[in-house]
């Protein structure tokens, strides 16, 4: 009897030893491939291999070589090394490694797909970087975040979410993590573009890159397509720095009450339309049935289709809620300039639109003033006159 148990335990231990830590690998974006429908298994394998050729593996990152763009101006391989790989802190004198897996991967996942082990228990879900879409930034919709934008999120965290502040990390560690997030985003965007390319152009038996293969001419053409896509993605990141929206100074007059009153008019008016989603009381209870762009990709309004994506690893869809403006919690930062950017540019990836072009910077500042006054404004006006329920004293 005892022997059988010992054997059982022994076998289990042996098996355990064999599967304890599989080598970290980037996951294929099966959800997006399913969305585009026309990607076969061998094409998916081909995409994985091309991505390894260009971007390396989680343990050994690489940056793609491009003829027309110096990639090191966007991401530096030397900087990435501190964040990549398994966590290593054996020797204080040796260079640090594995920062991403130490601080980020449990929520954002090794691939940066927002599907780390803890992700499904969080609300909102952690960001999936692979669209290249980031919400809290100084650039308009379509622009990538600037280096400073990403740094601000890392340093301050995102109030009201599970994203904490990493203010205690050393400057070079922060720098490395910012670069690593860009690296994962770029890799993910390139992967999505390859999937689109396959879906739009290739027949089932064709591959994106026939290497090893004999047809040099075909390979040359394929390499050109691949480099063209990669450089399209990278140039967006390279251009981000110059795209930050300028913030003109707040109107000079000091009458804050007048500015708040004007902001209130705009909030409820049919030009800015804030009230439509944030609600009459600004509690975020207006239009609450929409979804963010990440979720829209999995057809949330058609449960039978959404279930297919969920089976492939996507999380169950949730509606996106307009912000409750009376809490005084601002995810993208509470400085006036942060709220100015949110109103002026909108929040990319969400239903929050940019302000109409007809609203000038003064009007946007009035809205900022009103929004910032909301947590301190009484929800209803206290009665100043009327019956007094006082007990009459004899």
């Amino acid at each position: 009897m005892g022997r059988a148990w010992a054997a059982a335990v022994g076998v289990c231990l042996l098996l355990q030893a064999g599967c304890n830590s599989p080598e970290a690998a980037f996951h294929f974006n099966a959800v997006y491939a399913h969305k585009q429908s026309g990607v076969t298994k061998s094409q998916a394998k081909n995409v994985k291999e091309i991505l390894i050729a260009q971007f390396g593996t989680p343990d050994e990152p690489a940056i793609p070589a491009l003829p027309d763009l110096d990639v090191s101006t966007v991401i530096s391989l030397d900087r990435l090394k501190m964040s990549a790989g398994p966590v290593e802190r054996t020797d204080d004198t040796a260079p640090r490694r594995g920062l991403y897996r130490e601080h980020c991967a449990h929520c954002h996942g090794v691939t940066g797909d927002g599907r780390g082990p803890t992700a499904r228990f969080l609300n909102p879900y952690p960001r999936d970087y692979r669209r290249g879409t980031f919400k809290f930034k100084s650039t308009p919709v379509g622009g990538r975040p600037t280096h400073a934008d990403l740094k601000r999120i890392l340093v301050d965290g995102i109030p009201g979410t599970a994203m904490p502040s990493f203010k205690l990390l050393a400057a070079d560690e922060l720098e490395s993590l910012i670069q690593y997030v860009k690296y994962l985003a770029i890799r993910g965007e390139v992967e999505r573009s390859y999937i689109l390319e396959i879906d739009a152009e290739l027949e089932e038996e064709d591959l994106l890159l026939n290497v090893p293969g004999e047809d040099a001419e075909q390979v040359a053409e394929q390499v050109e397509v691949i480099q063209d896509i990669t450089s399209m993605v990278l140039s967006r990141w390279a251009n981000a720095a110059g795209q930050a929206t300028e913030v003109p100074a707040h109107p000079v007059d000091d009458d804050k009450i007048a500015s708040i009153t004007r902001g209130r008019e705009l909030f409820f008016g049919t030009t800015a339309n804030c009230v439509k989603c944030h609600g009459d009381t600004a509690l975020g209870d207006g239009q609450t049935t929409d979804y963010d762009e990440w979720t829209k990709e999995i057809d949330p309004t058609k449960p039978h289709l959404a279930a297919e994506y969920v089976a492939l690893g996507a999380f169950s869809p949730r509606n996106i809620r307009p912000r409750n403006l009376r809490q005084g919690v601002y995810r993208g930062g509470r400085r006036p300039v942060d709220i100015y950017w949110r109103i002026k540019n909108g929040i990319e990836g969400t239903p929050m639109p940019a302000a109409p072009a007809t609203l000038g910077s003064d009007d946007i500042w009035h809205l900022v003033d009103y929004v910032r006054s909301l947590p301190y404004e009484a929800l209803s006006q206290a009665r100043t006159s009327g019956p007094k329920f006082q007990r009459e004293r004899n």
Binding site: V11, P22, G38, V223, K276, Q287, E348, A357, T358
Partner: protein, 319 residues
């Protein structure tokens, strides 16, 4: 004394002991299964990447691309002039029932006047089964010098895209990526237009005040249509495509389309698309069944010809 040769029950203790042994084996088996189950963490969707292939690819991708661009020097047939492609799309069979749209909120009086139910216009069938909102567009590379001067003149024109009663008036809309889109709002309430291209065109999401407009410059070409929506009224939906050439059309309410000034004497590749099946892969062209893999239709027009296409699509494609 002899014992009769009858089957004997084993003693109770032995039975329990063998049951225990069996349960140990079951436990062991269960443990094995659990362990093995825990091992299969990798994604089974795509076969594992092979590192030696990736290495070979890295070498191929690192080679400096030659200075003299050989692909530009490829001999290409030149267009001989212009032709017109026109025709009609018909739906063969009855269209699927369109779902009722969830029109709710403060703006019901504008969006559903009189409380009338609003149905999706994903499929619109007109006179005699004519199918609206089929999109055709040329995906071949078109050199600039093939363009007719009338098309050169409109390359940077402004085109209108309107919405009224919380419906985008164009369900499917095509424009040139160099043109400017004037997004009108003909309602007395605010809208916002959320344009979400997939690759090269710029995304856009701006509030448009009541009876006002916004301007959008796509700045890039897209290969497939992408959704347009309104966040204030999430049931509003349209599709858009931005193209680098002027050769596209969307069928009108009775299924008719016309693309004028198409380069002639060269084979052109069109894509045929409708939002429900996406690429239309099978059709009946003038009575003959045809296959268009991924919506690809290849056609070569003669100079000054007007080619009339009569296309019939099986209603089963739209379910």
């Amino acid at each position: 004394m002899t014992t009769p040769l009858t089957p004997q029950k084993p003693p109770l203790r032995a039975t329990i002991s063998s049951m225990r042994r069996a349960s140990t084996y079951y436990l062991l088996l269960a443990a094995l299964l659990v362990m093995l189950g825990g091992c299969g963490r990798g994604s089974s969707v795509a076969p594992k990447a092979e590192m030696d292939i990736a290495e070979a690819m890295r070498a191929a991708l690192t080679v400096e691309s030659g200075e003299d661009d050989s692909s530009a020097a490829v001999e290409q047939a030149d267009s001989t002039g212009f032709a017109t492609l026109k025709g009609r799309f018909l739906l063969d069979g009855s269209p699927p029932k369109m779902p009722l749209l969830p029109v709710k909120g403060d703006d019901v009086a504008i969006c559903a006047p009189g409380g009338a139910p609003v149905f999706s216009n994903a499929i619109v069938v007109g006179k005699d089964g004519g199918l609206a909102n089929v999109l055709l567009y040329v995906t071949s590379d078109i050199p600039d010098n093939w363009l007719h001067e009338a098309d050169v003149a409109t390359a940077t024109a402004t085109v209108d895209f309107d919405q009224k009663q919380c419906i985008f008036l164009s369900r499917v809309f095509a424009m040139r990526s160099t043109q400017t889109l004037k997004i009108l709002n003909s309602d007395p309430i605010g809208h916002n237009t959320n344009i979400t291209p997939k690759q090269r065109a710029t995304p856009f999401n701006q509030t448009i005040g009541a009876n006002s407009f916004a301007l959008y410059t796509p700045g890039g070409e897209e290969r497939a249509p992408f959704p347009v929506s309104c966040s204030i009224h999430p049931w509003m939906k349209a599709w858009m495509i931005t193209r680098g050439n002027p050769y596209f059309a969307v069928t009108d309410k009775d299924g008719y389309f016309e693309i004028p000034r198409v380069p002639s004497g060269v084979e052109l590749e069109f894509r045929v698309w409708h939002e429900l099946p996406a690429y239309i892969e099978s059709a009946t062209l003038s009575g003959v069944p045809v296959k268009w893999p991924k919506g690809r239709m290849k056609i070569s027009l003669e100079k000054d010809a007007t080619v009339d296409m009569n296309v019939s699509l099986d209603a089963g494609l739209f379910n």
